[in-house]
């Protein structure tokens, strides 16, 4: 019987890890479809960002109550995963609460703290669930989240609540059986735990056999649930719990106002002014100026897209969005990921996606969205996980202007003025000093 459970456990565990690894390999492949960009400078500043922004959630604390609730879920989830180590070892070796034998004096403190965190996670997730569905928080009610994204968010919250309840129920059944002297539970005597013991009076109504089965079912459902959730999160917006860390490390460290340079254009302009510097043989040609599809973006833009948890703080802060324009920085990130996921499906079905006409720009992101951006960096500042939607917006704008010559009429005039008069307005260079001729 024991050995059958061990084999079953090993099978379930390895299958889950196999599918998870396969999925993560696909995400890696998708991210590397982006252009290469190096981020190796200033490692100490980068580690500081990982520590402060990802680990310490510094930007979340712009709004303290929400940040604290989120911290409970985050800390609870991470720390309770230490409990997973015990469950996995027990599963493979057929032991029961193996950590108890190793740290008999501290074991109850450990599990009590896990139980406290489990309760915190449940409370926070219930509040989040109510807040998301019953209260009118603008960024959570936005049309960006229509359909799957809002379901995704609720599935995550409910799953976390269920997983924590299973953990508490498992402990309740276990300690109840210990107190009744039932083997093998009483061999691993832990004493009752702080929170799960509240369920003991309820258990009096059931037979010992039912409670033993309950304990086993909870144990199995908990581990299957966690492994299932691991696979689910890799396909959902919840991936941020993993990717927030590398995303903080690879965040741009330049002043936010600095736009990425385009050395190819820089050189072309230089050779136009100084033809003697131009290389005699034409270098590699066929560059796309700006970005039309995800393959034209940097790999960091794609890592950003997979790190996004669709919280909408960027869109909330966006001046264009606040005044009813079509632009939503969150939607820019979601569209980028949607396009990447579509390519993933094509790769899995071995369809030649490169031959198709579809692209991120036009099919997922409309010109009107891009035109509304004031490049104010509010979205970049707002993001708790170091995402830069502005970087994608300006690359798509570059494509529109430089490859499509598509610009609003006023911008066309502005370009004309800059070219002919060296100023965006229609004044001649001679008028530049007219103001000096007036008195103060």
């Amino acid at each position: 019987m024991e050995i059958f459970q061990q084999i079953l456990f090993a099978g379930v565990f390895l299958t889950a890890i196999y599918f998870f690894s396969k999925r993560m390999a696909m995400i890696r492949k998708l991210i590397l479809l982006g252009q290469s960009e190096k981020f190796e400078d200033q490692p100490s500043r980068r580690w500081m960002n990982v520590f402060m922004l990802a680990f310490g959630q510094k930007k979340m604390f712009k709004k303290v109550p929400v940040a604290l609730l989120h911290l409970f879920v985050y800390a609870g989830f991470i720390i309770i995963n230490i409990e997973m180590i015990e469950i996995i070892v027990d599963g493979f070796l057929g032991t029961h609460r193996f950590l108890l034998g190793w740290i008999p004096n501290y074991y109850s403190y450990l599990i009590n703290s896990f139980e406290f965190l489990a309760i915190s996670v449940i409370v926070a997730c219930v509040i989040f669930f109510i807040r998301r569905n019953a209260l009118s928080v603008k960024r959570l009610q936005s049309s960006d989240l229509k359909g799957w994204p809002s379901k995704d968010a609720n599935i995550i919250l409910v799953t976390e609540i269920i997983l924590m309840l299973l953990f508490l129920k498992m402990n309740a059944a276990d300690t109840f059986l210990q107190s009744k002297g039932i083997q093998p539970y009483s061999q691993h005597f832990t004493g009752t735990f702080l929170f799960s013991s509240f369920a003991h009076p309820l258990l009096n109504y059931f037979s010992t056999e039912t409670i033993i089965i309950t304990e086993r079912i909870c144990w199995w459902l908990h581990i299957i649930g966690v492994l299932g959730f691991l696979n689910y999160l890799s396909r959902s917006k919840h991936l941020h719990i993993i990717l927030a860390f590398p995303n903080a490390y690879y965040a741009r460290l330049d002043p936010p106002g600095k736009m990425k340079n385009m050395p190819t254009v820089q050189n072309e302009v230089k050779y136009a002014f100084q033809p003697e510097l131009a290389p005699s043989s034409p270098g590699e040609q066929a560059h796309t100026f700006g970005a039309k599809d995800i393959t034209d973006l940097s790999w960091k833009n794609l890592l950003d897209a997979f790190s996004c948890t669709e919280c909408g703080r960027c869109t909330d802060a966006c001046p264009a969005n606040q005044t009813g324009k079509l632009l939503s920085p969150r939607k820019i990130m979601m569209s980028t990921r949607d396009r990447a996921e579509e390519i993933a499906k094509k790769i899995e079905h071995q369809i030649d996606w490169k031959a198709e006409e579809k692209s991120l720009l036009f099919d997922y992101i409309k010109e009107e969205e891009l035109r509304a951006c004031t490049t104010c960096n509010a979205c970049v500042e707002a993001c708790p996980v170091s995402i830069n939607p502005l970087d994608i917006i300006v690359q798509l704008r570059r494509y529109l202007i430089m490859e499509k010559s598509s610009s609003p009429q006023e911008w066309t005039s502005m370009f004309g003025n800059i070219e002919n008069n060296f100023a965006p307005w229609k004044f001649s260079p001679d008028q530049r000093i007219d103001w000096t001729k007036e008195s103060t």
Binding site: M262, V269, F289, K325, E368, T374, P424, T436
Partner: protein
Amino acid sequence: MNVPIWSEEINKGNQPEILFWVGCAGSFDARAQSITKAFVTILNKVGISYAILGKEEMCTGDPARRAGNEFQFQMMAYQNIQLLNSYQIKKIVTACPHCFNTLKNEYPELGGNYEVIHHSTMLQQLIDQGKIVLNENGTFKGKKITFHDSCYLGRSNNIYQAPRAVIEALDASLVEMKRCKSNGLCCGAGGAQMFKEEEKGNSRINLARTKDALDSGASVIASACPFCNTMLTDGIKLNEKQEDIKVLDIAELIAQSIEL
């Protein structure tokens, strides 16, 4: 007014210490011209060794680059850098955060390396050094002044304190808007929006920001960017508050508070 021009100074055998980069708004826009004049008044009064490029100055390329026209940006940058380097310019001050950002952050990798400061920082330094002496009973003493953070000064370049220090030096009471500093709301002009109509929406960005300013209860809205100034001035006019509330650049606040 007396404004030294770099090429003329060179011909006279002078090498000014600082270039005052006026910018297109400061040169051509009627409202922004008074900011330029106010700043020049201060520079002249303090006796700084400076000059402007005059007719040789060109757009930095900021609006072209943000709109997506990298070719045009590179053209402008190339020509400006050639000129700045030929004059061996070391230090630049500008009253425009967009020019400031481009000159400071984007020109170095194109071969233009200068010490670039924004006029808010320079004004703060001059006050701290005692070179700007403010009137005992200045125009703005005790007045409620709010400061609107320009995106290209604040979030883009992390300059929040210098313009506030300038306002506080006036003995005015600085009141913050609900959204300020890194949470400040854009005026709506950046990203080359200044040069086109806003996209379809249900309101205008400058009206949203003007509302923030009105809610602060201030009688003066201070800015440190000619574009923000224009957007907020328009917002105040649309609210028909131009009689009660003034939108002024920090250079104008100072110029109105010193003995001439």
